[in-house]
Symmetry: C2
Subunit: 255 residues, 2 copies
């Protein structure tokens, strides 16, 4: 898993109606940041079957790996797994080991709604089950998480250990320039140093001492340093207040 | 604007890399909640032209109205407006009134990067310019906002006054049931009372006094009451701890 691209999908009417504040996307984005990776696209979508099928297909066209959460419970608005089967053109298959687990947990309260949680797209793997009450599901390059944040985090912390970390080096340059004035130099740097990414973030707060934060980042420390020195030898340095540099952070695996 | 569906798109690598925490989606979702409306889909996407074109088209296929933010500044990673022109198959047109405003503001510092902010998809309307330094852009049913949260909020508060409010009535029912056990009754209510939406939210915190929060909501107060009474006459009531009812809230127009 060195260069894959990642898409995120959080499912639930309650997220889009504002009844529940969405927190899983922000959590995942920060965890991928610790791993030195950037998410390609992040989506909140409602409990609507045909829209979900389209959304899953849209993300798959643009990302190698999809992490999705929500809609895997037993109620009428839980249909992530059937939708996933449809999006992948796979049949749903009842997993006997999940039936056994559900019957073991619910006993005489077991009913058809609960048993529907044992129906997964054909070929789904059950991961980390020895460490979890309910396994993490993977089918092709799609990982299916529960919507509840504490359960999602527990499962992701197990997966994160298996994702290799790619370090990212960053310079944050605080300047007094107007963004339009330095647009040219920044564009040149990106063109001359492929693999170095330049961002600019105007600060609109009148209390701030800077006007634009310029960021330069790369996985190649030496390349980043050459690009940085190149930018600084232009007229640029006259408007620089200060520079903060970030080394890669170690991967967190706690939850 | 009575029954339209809304899609949201926030653009910026910094959101997906975790460098900047995304706050505009959560803001918009809460504002739409105050208006009694639900957002259909909400997406964070990076500064990548072809992916943005595809994302805009994907949202347009599923929503009547699109609100998008970010990427409208003068730098090399700002190309929301050209991308929008491409997604809509419209040419970019230079707006003389915007050129005049840019030259008036920047004087002798005006350059080609700054002037590119005056190039809009053909047919774009400039809204609320008498009340704003930079107008809100609308083209077809797409509204284009800046990414900076304070500017976005100021512009949205003007637009919100023109969106008619549809009240939403809600019952929140806190129960001691397991979610699987009440899946059947909840499904029946949605089938028998079209226009009433039932949601269920398990509480995983062991400190909570309830196990599942059931929500019922509708824009039709009487219909909601009939559905509520129907649910309560089943065996359901034995597991209900308490019920909170919400009346529609007035629309907030402050920012």
């Amino acid at each position: 898993m060195a260069n894959e691209t990642f898409g995120l999908l959080c499912i639930g009417n309650e997220l889009l109606s504002g009844k529940v504040a969405e927190t899983n996307l922000a959590y995942w984005i920060q965890e991928f940041k610790k791993l030195g990776r950037r998410v390609t696209v992040a989506i909140m979508a409602p409990d609507e079957r045909s829209l979900l099928v389209d959304t899953i297909r849209f993300i798959r066209q643009n990302c190698d790996i999809l992490l999705m959460s929500g809609g895997i419970g037993p109620t009428h608005d839980d249909f992530t797994l059937p939708v996933l089967a449809e999006a992948l053109n796979k049949p749903l298959v009842r997993y006997p080991e999940l039936v056994e687990a559900i019957e073991g947990y619910y006993g005489e309260n077991t009913n058809s709604h609960l048993l529907s949680m044992a129906d997964l797209p054909e070929g789904t793997e059950l991961l980390y089950w020895d460490q979890l009450l309910v396994p993490l599901f993977r089918v092709e390059q799609i990982y299916v998480f529960p919507g509840a944040p504490n359960l999602l985090r527990k499962k992701f912390s197990l997966l994160a250990k298996d994702l290799s970390s790619i370090p990212n080096y960053v310079h944050k340059i605080y300047t007094t320039f107007d963004e339009g004035v330095i647009a040219g130099p920044m564009e040149q740097i990106e063109q001359r140093f492929p693999g170095v990414y330049v961002g600019s973030y105007p600060r609109y707060d009148p209390g701030a001492d800077y006007r634009v934060l310029v960021t330069m980042e790369s996985k190649d420390k030496e390349l980043l340093q050459r690009a940085y020195e190149n930018l600084m030898t232009q007229d640029f340095q006259s408007g620089v207040l200060r520079v903060n540099s970030e080394e890669p952070k170690p991967v967190s695996t706690d939850s």
